[in-house]
């Protein structure tokens, strides 16, 4: 499983340290540009919300999956907890959705702490398999525990209070909320790129034994990464719940959703600042294009794309592009 090192060393052309400022500028410019999206594409705001929201959730996934190298295929659990906690508190207790989202975030963090505490002793594919099991069990419980979740028939959100005078059901409002969330996720990724904690996570990803020999407590750092990842994903889930207005356990806790988040990050470039964003844009935007140009064949083309990316850009597109630029 180890990469054979190319022989011969060469001094690098440009140091990575200090590159943080330029990527920060890039992120800010990008976010600023995106604020014009609803005005530029008024008929495609829904698509925009989906892309930005999934980009935010994929970035959140990436904190654990990309930066820490712990492949989770169960992140839909946090999407589901975020959506359900918010919606159930709105429907049953009349709690405002933003407070509901906060409670959901808390619940997600608690779940992540237990989940991580128990399964982080597993390494490699075993952790991934365990995450599938946790997510599938959560889905089954949510599907059957009708008294808590409304069961397989799902729940809908007919009305929501105004948020600071804004209608949360307006696609424009949803777009900007998703954008704020994306900004938050990018900020976290930017910080990970250069902070001590971020380097700890990367060291764990690269080699857990070597990381331990350098005084890093992998379980503790992984759990922290998981908590951050879960909290952000959960916020995304709350927003996704509002966006859909109706949802059921089968969709919200689905393995498909978990795999999608991972795919977005990997295809764009896991453990990079913009990778998950690029991946989400490509997969969500791309499948809309495919739907129109290859009616009925979009999933097929999607599969071919995944294969091509793995063969020719195994570290993701953003990494491949950066490498091509350097060469």
């Amino acid at each position: 499983m180890r990469r054979t090192p190319p022989s011969g060393s060469h001094p690098a052309t440009r140091p990575r340290i200090g590159a943080g400022t330029s990527s920060l500028t890039g992120a800010l410019v990008l976010l600023a540009l995106l604020t014009f999206y609803p005005a530029a594409f008024p008929s495609f705001i829904t698509l925009g919300v989906t892309i930005v929201l999934f980009a935010a959730m994929a970035s959140a996934w990436d904190v654990l999956g990309g930066w820490t190298g712990q492949l989770s295929l169960g992140h839909a659990v946090f999407v589901g907890i975020g959506a359900y906690t918010m919606a159930l508190l709105v429907l049953r207790n009349g709690v405002a959705p933003w407070w509901g989202a906060m409670v959901g975030m808390g619940a997600s963090v608690v779940v992540a702490a237990m989940w991580g505490g128990v399964t982080f002793r597993l390494r490699g594919p075993y952790f991934a398999l365990a995450s599938i099991a946790v997510a599938e069990m959560t889905r089954i419980v949510a599907n059957n525990w009708a008294r808590l979740t409304g069961g397989a028939e799902g729940i809908s959100l007919p009305t929501l209070p105004l948020f600071l005078g804004l209608d949360l059901f307006s696609r424009r409002v949803e777009f900007y909320m998703a954008l704020i969330l994306l900004g938050l996720a990018l900020a976290v990724a930017w910080w990970l790129q250069r902070s001590r904690f971020g380097y700890h996570l990367q060291a764990i990803r690269e080699d857990e034994d070597a990381a331990m020999a350098l005084g890093i407590n992998p379980t503790r750092e992984k759990v922290w990464a998981f908590l951050a990842s879960a909290a952000l994903t959960s916020l995304g889930g709350s927003l996704y719940g509002i966006f859909l207005g109706f949802f059921e356990p089968r969709g919200m806790f689905s393995l498909d959703l978990s795999v999608q988040l991972a795919l977005m990050a990997y295809i764009g470039g896991a453990g990079t600042l913009f990778g998950p964003l690029i991946g989400a844009g490509l997969l969500v935007g791309g499948s809309e294009v495919l739907r129109i140009y290859f009616p009925g064949k979009s999933l097929f083309v999607y599969g071919v794309l995944i294969i091509l990316v793995v063969l020719f850009a195994p570290d993701g597109l953003s990494t491949a592009v950066r490498r091509a630029r350097r060469a």
């Binding site: 795919l263 999933l299 995944i306």
Partner: protein, 288 residues
């Protein structure tokens, strides 16, 4: 009591089929360290291959099994050569992504070729039964079970007695060491993936007379295969048999006496417990 025995018997027979789904996955993981997310789709490919022969040539599904196995084996070898061999040194997530992509492509090819309606075939033994005292046995399931036992026995013989089997086991234990001993691990990987695909296809052929084929049903089987493999120990071929039987019986008893709506959860709970408490599987020796 009779009913209990009946339910356990059902569980054992279903478990036999689960075992054969799991063995291929386990073998592939053991030698290649690849968690094959396309495994269920391979099974569906086997179903449709069988269906093709059944409908075009009007041959009994159980009689075309050698053909199905051959098709599966060849497909597996080709896939390995062109798509998995190039990324053999890449990090593990690459192989997971690759198999996800392969699964999507294969299931959509099936969709183009066979359409999206679920395909059900009706054979003489699809609903027939035989009896042993008060216990009823499904004929289709019995044939499937017997064939499973034969195939697993054959596979065990190959692994234990032949040079190929020794190469496979050596590669599974330590690829680098096997390479040093002059074993062509590249060839072994291709063969193993071929065998894995063939076993999944075989499972598809065995299941077709009782269940249905649909291009998008693959992931359900993939998940079952994961559970079986983890219960038995990833990479432990013999363990997969135990894992399959255990899953079959657990689900049967759970569905009958607890609740059928939690059926899949019982298997998953066992899966998680085994992962955490005995990562080498219930039937494996710990390697650390």
């Amino acid at each position: 009591m009779v009913q209990f025995v009946q339910i356990v018997v059902n569980g054992v027979f279903t478990g036999g089929v689960y075992a054969i789904i799991g063995i291929g996955l386990s073998l592939i993981f053991g030698v290649m360290r690849i968690v094959n997310f396309a495994h269920g789709v391979f099974l569906v490919v086997g179903m449709f291959t069988t269906l093709f022969f059944f409908e075009r040539l009007h041959v009994d599904p159980f009689l075309v099994i050698p053909l199905v196995v051959l098709v599966g084996g060849l497909l597996g070898i080709v896939l390995e050569r062109f798509l998995l061999e190039p990324i053999v040194r890449a990090p593990e997530h690459a192989s997971i992504l690759m198999t996800v992509g392969i699964g999507l492509v294969l299931s959509n090819l099936l969709l183009f070729a066979f359409g999206d309606a679920p395909q059900i075939i009706n054979t003489r033994y699809s609903t027939s039964t035989w009896h042993l005292g008060p216990i009823t046995f499904s004929t289709a399931l019995t044939i499937a079970f017997v064939l499973t036992v034969v195939v697993i026995g054959g596979l065990a013989l190959i692994l234990e007695r032949t040079d190929l089997g020794r190469s496979i086991r050596a590669a599974a234990q330590n690829a680098d060491a096997a390479e040093l001993q002059g074993i062509n691990t590249r060839r072994v990987r291709s063969l193993v993936f071929g065998i894995g695909f063939a076993l999944a296809a075989l499972a598809g052929a065995l299941l077709l007379p009782q269940l249905f084929a649909h291009p998008s049903i693959g992931p359900t089987y993939t998940l079952k295969a994961f559970v079986v493999t983890v219960l038995g120990g990833m990479g432990n071929v013999a363990g997969a048999i135990g894992g399959g039987l255990l899953l079959g019986v657990t689900e049967s008893l759970g569905a009958a006496y607890v609740s059928s709506s939690y059926r899949d959860a019982f298997g998953l709970a066992a899966f998680l417990l085994v992962l955490l408490l005995r990562p080498a599987g219930l039937f494996g020796r710990s390697r650390t």
